[in-house]
């Protein structure tokens, strides 16, 4: 057995190298085994599990109130949306609905989360492809969103704000004003974002025509979110299966038909604008009333199965609860968007150059704790 990380030479003259698990461009502990012919990628094999905590097994011994908090540690950049999915799944089982105020707060927080997640992705994509400045630009605006989160939820990243029946606390009195300021600030920066990266010749050459995946393949691989929408696959859960009142909100599902890294990039850039648009619509119209429905101390779901899906910043997250009537779930499956998106990596990378692998990984927007769970 060779040392982990040391290159090997196969009988066909292909060079086998290991990228990760501590490579900066994998954004987490992803280990890729890559077969190379010169600089051309022949085969990519993801090796997972470096941060596998078996959240599904853990959830089986936690109550319906507690298991929600573990899911913040899956896709930590969309932590609020993960919590929302779980809260909605439990609500589906209990046959209750969150009050209108709670629903509105949830959507607002979800869109702020999506904005901050896409901003982090934008900065990191620039960094991966050799542009350092976007990272600082993105973090400047992202910081303001994190502060709003901290003020209302008490945490910046793992919000744990959703509970079955609503949200944990009411929003901070400053919430509306601060959100309005931040959205105004962010909207004025979109043009700057596009000037520095989208129109950059080097960036375009590194992403256009790279990592192509067709619409049919994207569906077959179970890709969702911007990864699939870059290939023209309509899959926005907010439009297909609206939850928490998304059916009343006006926004466009962004579709690009290029199927390459640049198309996926453009989808996310346009989605940021849509998220800002959604927040603008709602921020002045938060209904008065309760922020939480009345629920029992110990929640018990009736015997049966409940499936809830939501649109995280990376795609469709499904929470599948199998209940046997007890106070904790009998079985929980998290259908994570990154897991399916990553499975398409080999398809996208085959035949590309080794340098393109970084661009492909960046535009799939991988978060490894969500893959491993």
């Amino acid at each position: 057995m060779s040392l982990l990380g040391a290159p090997e030479l196969t009988e066909e003259g292909e060079f086998v190298i290991n990228i990760g698990p501590q490579h900066p461009s994998t954004h987490g502990v992803l280990h890729l085994k890559v077969w190379l012919d010169g600089e051309t990628i022949k085969k990519v094999q993801p090796h997972l599990g470096y941060i596998h905590r078996s959240i599904e097994k853990m959830s089986e011994s936690l109550s319906y109130r507690n298991f929600i908090y573990v899911t913040s540690r899956m896709d930590y950049l969309s932590a609020h949306i993960n919590n929302q999915a779980c809260a909605l799944a439990v609500e589906k089982g209990l046959q209750i609905e969150a009050p209108p105020r709670a629903q509105m707060i949830r959507i607002l927080m979800a869109e702020l989360t999506r904005l901050s997640s896409h901003q982090l992705w934008w900065g990191c994509t620039g960094l991966d492809l050799g542009a350092v400045t976007p990272f600082f630009y993105a973090f400047r605006e992202r910081e303001a969103i994190m502060e709003i989160m901290e003020e209302s939820c008490g945490a910046r990243l793992t919000q744990n704000y959703c509970v079955p029946g609503g949200v944990m606390y009411d929003v901070h009195p400053n919430f509306q004003n601060r959100v309005k300021d931040v959205i105004k600030q962010i909207k004025s920066k979109f043009k700057e974002y596009e000037e520095i990266l989208s129109g950059n010749v080097i960036f375009e050459q590194r992403t256009k025509g790279v990592g192509y995946i067709s619409a049919a393949d994207a569906v077959s691989y179970g890709c969702t979110g911007p990864t699939a929408r870059g290939s023209g696959v309509s899959c926005d859960v907010r439009k297909w299966f609206p939850y928490d009142g998304y059916e009343k909100v006006q926004f466009k599902e962004i579709l690009e038909h290029g199927g390459d890294c640049y198309a996926r990039y453009m989808v996310r850039m346009a989605e940021m604008k849509q998220s800002a648009y959604i927040i603008e619509q709602l921020i002045d119209n938060i209904p008065e009333g309760d922020f939480q429905a009345k629920t029992k101390m110990v929640l018990k779901l009736p015997k049966g199965e409940f499936y809830q899906r939501v649109e995280t910043a990376r795609g469709e997250l499904g929470v599948y609860i199998v209940s046997d009537g007890a106070a904790s779930p009998y079985r929980i499956k998290y259908r994570s968007p990154n897991f399916s998106n990553l499975s398409a990596l080999e398809h996208m990378a085959k035949g590309a150059k080794i340098g393109d692998l970084v661009a492909i990984m960046a535009t799939i927007d991988l978060v490894i704790p969500d893959v491993d769970r």
């Binding site: 599990g49 078996s54 569906v219 077959s220 179970g222 499936y307």
Partner: protein, 151 residues
């Protein structure tokens, strides 16, 4: 197609299928040995056209295992769930669906890893999240974790 239409047309082709409509989706129940022709028809027949396998998982019921396939058709916008019962819990086996939906390559490896279900004709059946030397299947109900501390 509505659930009723799917039910009628499936029962004409596969009389062995039973149905459960108590949940959110229409459930098609079948034994693991009869799964392959049914699922192939659901994928390939144009009137069903279930092109999106959005969730694939397994449930351990102690007496038997159940494979659960959540299917959606992007074109017709109908969704169903197929449940295949695997009676043998010692050496569970089932036909792969990874040639019909490529997402199943990873999802079936995950189920193999955590439940020990062997997928016949799978192109690359290795453990996915755990190490090859790991003993036992953590999501099975009879799995004992010696390192677990109960507070």
């Amino acid at each position: 197609m509505t659930n009723e239409e799917i039910k009628q047309s499936v029962s004409a082709l596969f009389p062995a299928v039973t149905y459960d409509e108590t949940g959110e989706f229409l459930n098609l129940l079948i034994s693991s040995g009869d799964l392959r022709p049914l699922i192939e028809a659901l994928r390939k027949n144009a009137e069903y056209d279930f092109d999106f396998l959005f969730c694939l998982t397994c449930i351990d019921w102690k007496t038997h295992l159940t494979m659960v396939y959540h299917l959606l058709s992007k074109k017709h916008k109908h969704a169903i769930v197929i449940k295949a019962k695997i009676a043998d819990t010692i050496n569970p086996e089932i036909e792969t669906v990874s040639d019909l939906w490529k997402t199943a390559i990873f999802h079936e490896r995950e189920v193999y890893d955590l439940f020990g279900v062997k997928f016949l004709n799978h192109p690359d059946l290795r453990r996915l999240l755990l190490d090859e030397s790991w003993e036992g299947y953590p999501l099975r109900k009879n799995y004992v974790d010696e390192n677990m501390i109960t507070i």
